[in-house]
Symmetry: C2
Subunit: 204 residues, 2 copies
């Protein structure tokens, strides 16, 4: 297809498509003459990926470049490549903080982890913030969180495609896009359970 | 205590404390002379709340002002006041999108909800983004998400303090600060389950 049709199908303007090609995010089309190129399904798919990572997940261009490079040339170990791709997603944390409390929790609930990942840092910081304002963070509460987070993750990983490029797209997009689905469902479930609790208290 | 001691205990600088008083986020101290005021535990507590909402949850000052106003003067219905306080938290969504798919999901899984809340909009948008990149979003997958989000929310709402001001602080801070705890645990559980799956595949 021509660039105008690609633009229509992917919902991305022609100047933006040209920008992505210059930035190395999108492979160039196949030249059919000195001034014309043709594009295929893989371009549509790649543009949708880039658009969602930019507009929904709010990734800067260099991070998207890292991700598409891994999709195009995954390393020998799929596990390590997945880890590298996930590290390109927000949050982008600066200076590190102590992770003893986070890793003690993970050891207690039996979750194995890679110590130098952003997720472990993010957990350590989140637990520090919870403690600072005296929110409940006893073992019972954290065990409930770990149990349900693990059940969700198990379901997601069970759906991991076998092809490396597809597995990378699934993991990056799934990590970024199911997160707000889960956050929204949790807030709505708060409404549901609070309504029931407060109705009982008001009636009592 | 004097303002210097308040600053030390809450980890907030004196100019920032004065800014919060001017902006109506923090009640002024009790005047002990024409030029000196004294502060108490409630000031320390309020400053910690403000600091976490600004620095961790990234709230703009006007949104924090809404929340502290609700804590100081909750309305007659605690359920409605909680809803108003939660609406002051991010995400701040502009123009609305169709919520039919989101509400159909909520109806199917039996979660009651307030239709005009940000959470329902956030769910609708998140589901649109998931569809756009062809991530799995069949009933089976979404039911798993709803089930575990509801179990997490039930545990959290069971811990709701009975006092209105305490319930508001718990809900606002809990919504904002447990969200990254859960997001981090989900990402770590991905590592755990992916490691097991990929070890099995490599061995097979």
């Amino acid at each position: 297809m021509r660039i105008s049709e690609l633009s229509r199908q992917a919902g991305v303007s022609i100047p933006t498509i040209k920008f992505y090609v210059r930035e190395g995010l999108l492979p160039p089309g196949d030249l059919t003459s000195a001034t014309q190129a043709t594009y295929g399904e893989r371009h549509v798919r790649r543009l949708r990926l880039i658009r969602v990572l930019r507009e929904v997940a709010d990734l800067p261009v260099p991070r998207i470049r890292e991700i598409v490079a891994l999709i195009d040339r995954p390393g020998e170990s799929l596990f390590d490549t997945l880890g590298q791709a996930i590290e390109a997603l927000p949050p982008y944390l600066s200076a590190s903080c102590a992770t003893d409390r986070a890793t003690a929790l993970l050891d207690r609930v039996g979750l194995t982890y890679e110590p130098n990942t952003t997720a472990v840092q993010q957990l350590a910081r989140a637990l520090d913030a919870v403690d600072e304002v005296d929110l409940p963070a006893d073992d019972a509460r954290l065990d409930v969180y770990a149990e349900h987070a693990s059940a969700i993750a198990a379901e997601e990983i069970a759906g991991l495609p076998r092809d490396a490029a597809a597995a990378l797209e699934y993991s990056v997009l799934g990590t970024a896009l199911y997160e707000p689905v889960l956050a929204a469902l949790r807030r709505i479930a708060h409404q549901h359970h609070a309504r029931r609790l407060l109705d009982v208290l008001d009636a009592g």
